[in-house]
Assembly symmetry: C2
Homo-oligomer: 188 residues x 2
């Protein structure tokens, strides 16, 4: 079983891709196979200075990265609004909550209020384990941190217990919509 | 009645705002009043060169505008996935179809297939008239243009007949979700 998981690791996930790249590839698969339409939002940029040379494309000469006010990914699947963020951690025992920004959590609360399905895809890089973790579960850790100066991370054991483990696959690489199916079916 | 509409024009729409700015302001209203969560996606940028000065923020030194592969706006409203593009035209008798790109139309087709609500918000700037025009109606003009070298625009009269007129309001400035309500109710 150690051998097996090592080989699975080699063939699927160890390609030097970030979680984001793996998810983008999975979303391209889902799009091309008519399963769902989910895209990563472009990185928000504050543009300060643009050059418009004659006869060629405009060149942005000065710009800055802005903090995103929402999550990374959204789209539509089985008639549902889907909204999530992807987070990698090098930590092997817990997921540090500072990986989220207040406005991302706030955005997920608002989406849920209007009937969206929201979650985080969390990858423990050293364990090579990926989980879908529901936004509503995330909120309880987040609020506890704020209210009582409680712990600033979610223990791995809690994520293993309450999250949904997503095994690497070939096509798509990260079949996270199977986990989303469970969330949708829970709502019926 | 001529006087009335002139005064409405002055107080609501003639502020030198683009349609996009007007919609962003309307979406901010909808968000702050817990009506819907709909955001404009950031402009997609191809970053070529970034400077990382010590002790200050990264500066993008060379970047280019990329063509968007989806529409401008998406989000969630009344449990529905909402997806649309905003288009202004200076034309006073028809809406030129070259305002859309093939991949935007394709994106709307895919979203509809998965249960999303898709449309265009079209503003005839010279008439100061704004319409919601359903993506499914747009497709028939688009496909006709491709297939038969047919006309390359949608006559204003058709948009007035099949679209939903949206009157400027104060809060929100463009109450387009009232028109979306009609689309949602049609689906029931
Ligand atoms: Mg992320
Ligand atoms: Mg537009």
């Amino acid at each position: 079983s150690k051998l097996k998981s090592a080989s699975a690791k080699t063939s699927f996930s160890d390609r030097g891709m970030t979680l984001e790249q793996e998810l983008n590839q999975s979303n391209a698969y889902y799009l091309n196979h008519d399963v769902a339409v989910i895209h990563k939002k472009p990185t928000p940029i504050q543009i300060v200075n643009v050059d418009y040379p004659k006869r060629s494309a405009a060149v942005i000469k000065e710009a800055y990265f802005k903090q995103a006010s929402t999550t990374d990914y959204n789209g539509v699947y089985r008639g549902n609004y889907i909204d999530f963020d992807a987070k990698e951690t090098q930590n092997a025992t817990s997921f540090p909550l500072h990986n989220f920004h207040e406005h991302q959590v706030e955005h997920m609360r608002q989406c849920i209020k209007h009937g969206g399905i929201c979650f985080a895809i969390i990858k423990f890089v050293k364990l090579d384990q990926i989980f879908l973790f529901k936004a509503t579960d995330l909120f309880s850790y987040w609020d506890n941190m704020d209210a009582t100066k409680g712990r600033k991370s979610i223990p791995l054991a809690d994520i293993q217990k309450n999250g949904i483990l997503i095994q690497y696959h070939i096509q798509p690489l990260i079949p996270y919509l199977e986990a989303v199916d469970q969330l949708i079916d829970l709502r019926r």
